[in-house]
Symmetry: C2
Amino acid sequence: MASSYYPKLESTFPPDEKLTAATENAIIFYDASNFEIIGQLPDTETYTRLPLGAQNKVRQEVWNLSQHSAGISIRFTSNSSTIKVRWELKYNNHLSNMTPIATKGLDLYAYRDNTWQFVGVARPVEGHQNEAIIIEGMPANAQEYLLNLPLYDGILSLEIGIDSGAYVDKPAQKIIDTAHPIVFYGTSITQGASASRPGLTYPAMIERQFNKEVINLGFSGNGRFEKAIAEYIMTAQPSLVILDCTPNSPADTIRKNLPETIDYITAVNDTVPIILVESIIRDYAFFKKDDQNVSGTMSFINEQNNALKAVYESKIKTRKNIFYIVSENLIGEDHEATTDGTHFNDLGHYRAYQRFREEIEKILRSL
Amino acid sequence: MASSYYPKLESTFPPDEKLTAATENAIIFYDASNFEIIGQLPDTETYTRLPLGAQNKVRQEVWNLSQHSAGISIRFTSNSSTIKVRWELKYNNHLSNMTPIATKGLDLYAYRDNTWQFVGVARPVEGHQNEAIIIEGMPANAQEYLLNLPLYDGILSLEIGIDSGAYVDKPAQKIIDTAHPIVFYGTSITQGASASRPGLTYPAMIERQFNKEVINLGFSGNGRFEKAIAEYIMTAQPSLVILDCTPNSPADTIRKNLPETIDYITAVNDTVPIILVESIIRDYAFFKKDDQNVSGTMSFINEQNNALKAVYESKIKTRKNIFYIVSENLIGEDHEATTDGTHFNDLGHYRAYQRFREEIEKILRSL
C-alpha cells in the first residue's frame, strides 16, 4: 500500500497554518557560502565538521558523522520581504525520534531587540532536493539573520532566495564573535537528538545566548573523548572546550582516553577552560534490572560517571580551569525531558541549556 | 536514489542506545482492548474519538481526524519483565513537524511512588505493521501501566506482548478516575502537534497530574467551537470542558459558533466548568507585515482573541463557571516553544500544561 507523505496530511492544516503565497514574487537564489559560515573548524569543506585530512585519522563512523551539518549556520543580512531556501541533502535520512525539520530541515533566527528571535522553518519534502519558503510578507527592512542547518543530514548545496529587488550580503553587524569559539565534543545528544528543530539544541542556544560561535562536534553514538578529535578542536583556538562524551563512553574508555585528551588540550593551551559533563541516568534505567555489565543500566552509568569524576579529581590537582557538571537535575527529575529514554527532547535541551549557561557564566566571572 | 529509512541511521547509535535483547523470551500477545481503554467518548468504536453515528453529523475532515487515536490510552497491569507491542496503523502518516514516535508510535508510563513515570517508547518502522519492544529486563514485579496511542494516525489493531510465564490484566488499582472526564476540544496543538511522543501533550500531562481521564478532541486544522462536537462532549458527563479552538477559528466563526456551543453545554449541565483559551501569537506573526485580513498575522490573531473575550464577557453574566486563559506567556515569551511557529514543541506543551494545571487547581478549589 502506498504511503502518504509529508504534504498529504499537512493539507489538513488550515490555510493559516501554511506560509504559501497566492502570488509569489520573483525570487533570486544566492549560494549560501557567499555569506558567513559559522560553527565549522578551520580548513573544513563547506558545511562539514572535520577537515579533509581527518578522514584517515578518525574512526570511519566519526568521519561519516562529520559530514552532518549539525551546529553549522549561515550569518547574513538582507532586506528581503521573503526568505526562501533551496538545499540538496547528502543522505535524506529518517529517524524515528526526530522531526524531519530537525533531521534535514533548517530554521531561521533574526536579531531583534538585542536577541536572536526565531522566525520560521524550512520544511523538507521527501527527497534529496528541497525548496521551502521560511517566511514571506515581511516589511522590507534590513535584518541580521542566523540560518541553522540540518542536524542529522549533510548539505550538498544550499542557496538563499530573496525578492528580486532586494539584497542579501555578509553580516552588516558582527554580533556573534567568531575569534575563539566554544567547542562542544559529544554524543548524539550534543549533535541534537531529539530537538524539534536545528536551533533548539543546547549548543545552539548557548551560541545565541553568549553571541559566541559554537562548534558542535557531537558524533551520534561515537563521542569517546578521543585525542584525535581534541587535535582538531585545538586548531580552532577555542575559548572553552566542553567534553560531553560520557553517555557514549564506557568507564574503561573514559579512563583510557580522557586523561590523554585533557593532557593534549593542556599542552596546546594550559588555560582554556574545560568542562566535563556526566551522563544522565537514562529513563529506562529506573525500570531495568541493574547489571553493571549491561550498558545503559543504573550501575553502568554510575560507573561511567565515577570514572569521569576520578579523571576530573586527578587532573584538577595540576591543571586549573577544569569544571564539572553533575547529571543530577541536568534535565530535571520528572522523566519528561527525553523523547525515548536517552535523547533530550526540547524540554531536555532547554533545561540542559540553562545549566550550561549558569556554568559558563560562572567560568566567565572567574576568568 | 533510494532513501535510507529509520533503522539505518539508528544503527549508528551504540548498542547501549538500543533495547534489543540478544535472546528473547517467548512473548505472548493479548489484544489491548481486553484491558481498559481511556480517553474515548461513550459508544465509540475501539481507538476512535467520535461515535459511528457522528459520521453524518460532523464535517468530513472532523470525522477523518476522529479516526486518529490522539489521547487514547490503555490501562493495564502486568508482572512481565518485557513489554512489547504490535500494532497496525490505518494510514502510516508522515509529518515534517512531528517525530514518527509521536505521529504513529506509542509510549508507556508506570505508576511509581504515586506518580506516572515514563518507561519507554514503541518506535514505528516504515509501514503499517509495527512491532517493538518498549522495555525488557525488568524485575518481574506487578506494575500499573498507561500506554499512550499514536497522536496523528489511527490504530487498526493493537496487542500487548508479555513474557510467556507472566500475566497481563485490567488495572488492579483504579488510579485514574474515569467517572467524569476532562474534555479538551481543540486544534492540531491540542491533538498533539508537535510533542515528541504521545505522553507529552498538555492534555496527557493533565491526565497524569490529576489522575482524571482526559478525552482529547483536538482536530488538526478543524477546531471550530462547533455545537455538533459539544453534543458528543456532553455524552461523556464531563467534569470540565476546555474549549481550545481559537487558533483554527476566525473571529466570525467564534462569534457565530461559540455562544450556541456554550448555551448547549449549559442546557445539558449549567454547572460544569468551561475554560476558554486564547490563541498564542504565532512566532512568525512578529515578523510579517500586519494585515487583519490575512490569517496568522498579529491583528488577525488579536481579533480572534478579542472575539473570544467578548463571548466570555457576555456569557459570564448569566453563567457561572466560565474561565478564561489568556495567551500571554502561555508558552513563554522567548519564541523557543514552537517547532514551526504554530505548533507547541515539548517545551511549549510543558509550559502550557503548567498554566492549565494552575487554572484547573484554582477551579477545583472554587468548587
